[in-house]
């Protein structure tokens, strides 16, 4: 069956693990299918939320608690809400006709390509000898961050340490990226009428002044 040369040697899976995984997997897949096949954008957004929750559960199962929390807060709590805002803004009652495909060959080719991709990936998983890098390139997941006693430990501490040392530059860059994104969004979403009105007002003022100057 599936065999990897790097298998977690510590524990064998127990029944609760399998059950949790199965349930989460089901939730995820159903949600994904829902996103892809809903006619209504709002239904799609809600399916997305379902998928995100499933993924969060899987994160917890893989000892990535902090990330699960961040996922829920950021993705499900902010991004999807943003989506819903825009859907409402653009009109809720737009339904899309999923049956018709105006672009010829798009659907068949899409299915074929992605079937190939999926089959390929699973085949690779099944048969390939994975050559991966060394363990612990950056740092362990658990464990104290410094050797001294009383140092904070755990995943959050480790993540924080790496973020502020190894990945500091990327961290700052993403901060800048966020600022740019906000500025860009504000600029993009400005009402066009406002700027035009301002220009027109300015032009009228100038015309008045020059008219006065000529007349006098």
């Amino acid at each position: 069956m599936l065999h990897l040369s790097l298998v977690v040697a510590s524990t064998r899976p127990t029944w609760p693990d399998i059950l949790v995984f199965a349930a989460s997997a089901a939730v995820i897949v159903v949600g994904a299918l829902g996103v892809v096949t809903s006619r209504h954008p709002v239904h799609a957004a809600l399916s997305l939320v379902m998928t995100l929750f499933g993924v969060a559960v899987l994160f917890i199962e893989q000892d990535a608690d902090f990330l699960a929390a961040v996922q829920i807060i950021v993705y499900a709590g902010a991004i999807v809400v943003l989506f819903l805002f825009v859907i409402m803004f653009l009109g809720v009652d737009r339904r899309e006709d999923v049956e018709v495909e105006p672009l010829g060959g798009q659907r068949p080719l899409a299915f074929v390509m992605l079937a190939i991709t999926l089959a390929g990936v699973i085949a690779m998983l099944a048969t390939a000898h994975w050559v991966t890098g060394a363990h612990q390139v950056v740092g362990p997941i658990q464990g104290p961050i410094t050797k001294s006693a009383g140092a904070p430990s755990g995943e959050v501490a480790q993540l924080g340490k790496q973020l502020f040392t190894t990945y500091l530059f990327a961290f700052e860059a993403t901060a800048a990226l966020l600022v740019i994104a906000v500025v860009g969004a504000v600029v993009l979403a400005r009402r066009p009428g406002l700027s035009e009105k301002a220009d027109r007002a300015e032009q009228a003022e100038r015309a008045e002044r020059s008219g006065q100057g000529v007349a006098s």
């Binding site: 672009l103 080719l109 899409a110 390509m113 990936v121 690779m124 048969t127 000898h129």
Partner: protein, 631 residues
């Protein structure tokens, strides 16, 4: 020595137009005369040397040096080249003098002497060169000057195309020359005759045995047929009579046409290697002589008769070369230069006197008004017919003697040709100078009668006299019973090893001499008998077949001319338009079609582009999969 005519050429190019006639003519003549003087001095110098030491090679500078090929510019002075130079400069000098008066009044007077001087320069380079490439330079030079001079009156269509014809036929021969040079260079590594690595070409003859030698010889002979107007490249010479008569005299009687014979004589050591080659040469020479003589019997134009006569005489020379009788060939060349030059100049005098009328049927009784011309022309006539004691008898006899021992059939052919020679020359003499005047009557095509002919000025008569004397006494150069001190002794060492000289016992020699004399007399008597009367229209004696040069021109036209034209038309309309333009335009169309097809990829739909990404992703996955499976 070649520098004198070169200097003359340059002076005339620079200032000719301003000097005008006749001073330009005198300058040209003086240049050649100076060369002649130097030639005489060289002759004297060589005569002082004993027999075996008469070879002098000197390199002036290196023309170019490429890889293993070193080509100097230098001269080779030996009896052969000095002989050539002597008669070339001598006859040229005389003809230049003649042209001063002949070309008088022509608007392009200086240009004429420019070309003539350049021609003499090229001919001297050809003869004096010490390597094959420099000879080729001279060869090409004379070809070019021949082209210019034949089409000197180029506003006449016939003259322009005659010039072209001459040059093209020459060119074919030149291709043969070049190929021969390549072959020889490949085998011997040098193009110098003597000197240079390995002792020059003549020092490395062992490399040129067998097939290569024969091939080289035949290629050189092809060049000689082109330049010296033998079968199969002889058609240009009759057409070249379109040029002014001094040109015909100089180039097509005395010098350029002898270049081919000279080349073969110079390469005699090479010829000696291949018996098959020599046979070919001899056969072609003999056949050409015969064919040309038959044609000459039926020509109407005085210059054309002389042209075919030239072809025939050179055929004799080539026949001699093919039989190994090089000395005889050179002897005939020298005496031919004298009497043919004389005949042409005489003809020119007659033409000049009759206001450029060249048709024999309209001349007649010129002896009454142009005495000098008549007398000198008679000397030439007797010389070429082979009447002793003039030069022609001895030289032609020499050739026939040597041929007799080799190829009896060709000797017989040569004998018949001698009869024909005497016959047509007599016909010419009688029609032009004898009989009753016909120029004062309406011509056969309705032309008006001509003025009475006048004798030529002294400038033209003097050369005629000089050449007549030379033709008369030229035979003394090589009387058959004087061997060592004569021509034969002089030239013999040059051809050492390859010369064939037949010393028949005295009885055999006398018998052959009498046969020659008999042949000449038969020809003369028959000629007189047939043409003496006033009736000059004798179509049965001048069949169309002979008049049309055995239909040789038409044969070439049908064989080469028309198909070439068809090919050219085909190329122009089919290849050029459809294939080449089609290819180029087709490429453009293909590009456009490809562009249109590829354009569909840019549909503007984001989802299509995303599909493209998906395709790439699938391909990547498959590629990685295959890598893992294969490794």
């Amino acid at each position: 020595m070649p520098l004198f005519p070169l200097a003359g050429f340059l002076v005339l190019v620079a200032a000719g137009r301003r000097i005008g006639d006749p001073v330009a003519g005198w300058i040209g003549t003086l240049a050649v005369a100076a060369a002649f003087v130097v030639a005489c001095l060289t002759l004297g110098g060589l005569l002082n040397q004993p027999d075996a030491h008469r070879l002098f090679v000197h390199d002036y500078f290196t023309w170019f040096h490429v890889g293993g090929l070193n080509v100097p510019v230098g001269i080779l002075v030996d009896p052969l080249s000095v002989t050539m130079v002597m008669f070339i400069t001598g006859v040229s000098m005389v003809i230049h003098l003649y042209s001063i008066a002949y070309m008088k009044g022509d608007p392009d007077y200086p240009k004429f002497f420019i070309y003539m001087n350049l021609f003499v320069f090229s001919m001297l380079v050809l003869v004096l060169a010490n390597n094959l490439l420099l000879t080729f330079v001279g060869w090409e030079g004379v070809g070019v000057c021949s082209y210019w001079l034949v089409s000197f009156w180029f506003h006449r269509d016939s003259a322009a195309s005659a010039g072209k014809k001459a040059f093209i036929y020459n060119r074919i021969g030149d291709a043969g020359f070049l190929l021969a040079i390549f072959l020889i260079f490949e085998k011997t590594g040098t193009v110098q005759y003597t000197g240079g690595p390995g002792g020059g070409i003549f020092g490395q003859l062992h490399h040129l045995g067998g097939g290569t030698g024969t091939a080289a010889v035949l290629l050189l002979f092809l060049a000689a047929t082109g330049k010296s107007a033998q079968i199969p490249l002889f058609n240009w010479l009759p057409d070249a009579m379109e040029g002014p008569t001094p040109v015909s005299a100089l180039i097509h009687a005395a010098t350029m046409v002898t270049a081919g014979v000279y080349l073969l004589c110079r390469m005699n050591h090479l010829l000696a290697l291949t018996h098959a080659g020599m046979e070919v040469i001899a056969i072609i020479g003999g056949v050409t002589a015969f064919v040309a003589a038959t044609i000459a019997c039926a020509q109407q134009d005085i210059k054309k008769v002389l042209a075919f006569s030239t072809i025939s005489q050179i055929g004799y020379m080539i026949l001699a070369v093919g039989s190994g009788a090089y000395v005889a060939a050179i002897f005939l060349m020298v005496s031919h230069a004298f009497f043919k030059g004389l005949l042409f100049l005489g003809a020119g005098s007659a033409i000049h006197g009759l206001d450029n009328e060249q048709d024999l049927k309209r001349m007649g009784a010129l002896r009454k008004t142009m005495q000098w011309t008549t007398i000198t022309f008679t000397v030439g006539w007797l010389a070429i017919a082979g009447i002793p004691p003039l030069a022609g008898f001895w030289s032609k006899g020499d050739v026939l003697d040597n041929v007799y021992s080799h190829y009896k059939v060709l000797w017989f052919l040569g004998l018949i040709t001698a009869v024909l020679t005497a016959y047509y020359m007599t016909r010419l003499q009688v029609l032009a100078f004898g009989g009753e005047p016909r120029w004062d009557k309406i011509g056969p095509h309705g032309e008006p009668p001509l003025h009475a002919p006048h004798e030529s000025p002294w400038v033209m008569r003097l050369p005629l006299v000089i050449l007549a004397v030379a033709a008369f006494f030229g035979g003394l150069l090589d009387l058959p019973w004087i061997h060592h001190d004569s021509f034969e002794g002089w030239l013999g060492p040059v051809f050492a090893g390859s010369l064939y000289n037949d010393h028949l016992h005295a009885g055999g020699e006398w018998a052959l001499a009498l046969t020659d004399l008999a042949a000449a007399l038969i020809g003369v008597i028959v000629g007189f008998a047939l043409w003496r009367g006033a009736q000059v229209d004798k179509p049965q004696l001048e069949p169309q077949f002979l008049q049309r040069v055995w239909y040789w021109d038409d044969f070439y036209d049908a064989l080469i001319g028309r198909p070439s034209q068809k090919l050219a038309t085909f190329c122009a309309w089919v290849v050029d338009v459809r294939i080449i333009d089609g290819a180029v335009n087709g490429m453009a169309s293909v590009v456009r079609a490809t562009g249109s097809a590829t354009r569909k990829l840019q549909s503007g739909y984001v989802r299509n582009y995303a599909l493209g990404i998906a395709v790439g992703m699938a391909a990547l996955i498959v590629f990685l999969l295959s890598r893992t499976w294969w490794s």
